[in-house]
Symmetry: C2
Subunit: 197 residues, 2 copies
Amino acid sequence: MPVTAKRRADTRAALLAAAERSFRTKGYSATTMADIAEAAGVSRPTAFRYFRTKADLVFSVQDEWQQTVRDVAAERPGTGWTLVRRCCDAVAEQIERDADRVLAAYRLSAEQPSLTAAAAARDRGWIQVMAELLAGDAADEPDALLMGAAIMGMINMAIILWADAPGTTDLRRTIHRGLDLLPAGPGSAKGGATAWG
Amino acid sequence: MPVTAKRRADTRAALLAAAERSFRTKGYSATTMADIAEAAGVSRPTAFRYFRTKADLVFSVQDEWQQTVRDVAAERPGTGWTLVRRCCDAVAEQIERDADRVLAAYRLSAEQPSLTAAAAARDRGWIQVMAELLAGDAADEPDALLMGAAIMGMINMAIILWADAPGTTDLRRTIHRGLDLLPAGPGSAKGGATAWG
DNA sequence: GATACACTGAGACTCAGTCTCAGTAAGAGG
DNA sequence: CCTCTTACTGAGACTGAGTCTCAGTGTATC
């Protein structure tokens, strides 16, 4: 690993650590980017070079989820509900393993409207991912997008429910329940058959 | 109508009109609240008293939708998918009637990430509304919230698709199609029967 | 060892959003 | 018709997010 790349990685990690610490102790809105930058030993503009917005410091966890989905999807190519389920499982597992960070992020976003907004802004990308898992090359068809959006809405709510009742709610089971409420299999779509079985 | 109330309504309308005009001609980010306030003949702080954020000026259309849903829901009490469909119809009709304003709002939010976020921040409220339409008093049950969130995700996507292809896409039909993809009726839920039929 | 390049700090700037304070006009009551 | 309360407003200052420019410094390349 080249020196520059390593230093970049270190700086990024330092910013994340400083942010997490300060958000936890002082709260999100009371923490300024200047605070975080100083604690991480960089200048304020540099902090913005690493994280475009303050909210990105909270939701950087999600970056790893996208990678997980890509890995699972690449592992055994194919499309449809089965693939969606497998990816949901993988991400849910990852979330529960990393529960502390994720919980902190979602607690923050519950009390901070601007963070709710920022979290949702990432969904457009996730919807596309879901539509591709479902329909493959046909991901841009209205049906796939409609269903992808529905799935993402459901998953977000599952995470919220899980974050609201930590310890008592099983995230993976909640997501499965949600997928069951949706027509997560062949033969249950009434308005017209789809090829996602 | 008392004088005060009328003046408030006038000021609100003036702010909306000024904002719409300026967003259209100068663009969203190039328009400052000071511009809007000046054009509407009020001070900047007063503009913020009427609209808590700049984004609220864009999405104020949705306020009327909530009222429509409340009206339809009150008209004939009851719950379940039928009610959801009726409310969706009413709102879709209202949206298509008011197409210009809605299209402008969604075009803006497509090109402005911060607006995407703001739009999504309103969804939390809409999910609650949907869950109540579906399940009535049981709206806080996980099942209702999961499905409410799925419906809202789907509807948002339907609006996006409609806004992307104006004239060629029928919003009401797209939403119906989305509801059909979801188990919009009794007997199609696989993971367990619900009382929303 | 010289050169091109990427990253950085410093500092100024714009604008959203909040707050305080004082002025003013509407509405209630005599 | 006059007073008093109440609600709305303008003025102006303030904080902090996010952007930009510029110059300096350290790495990678030849």
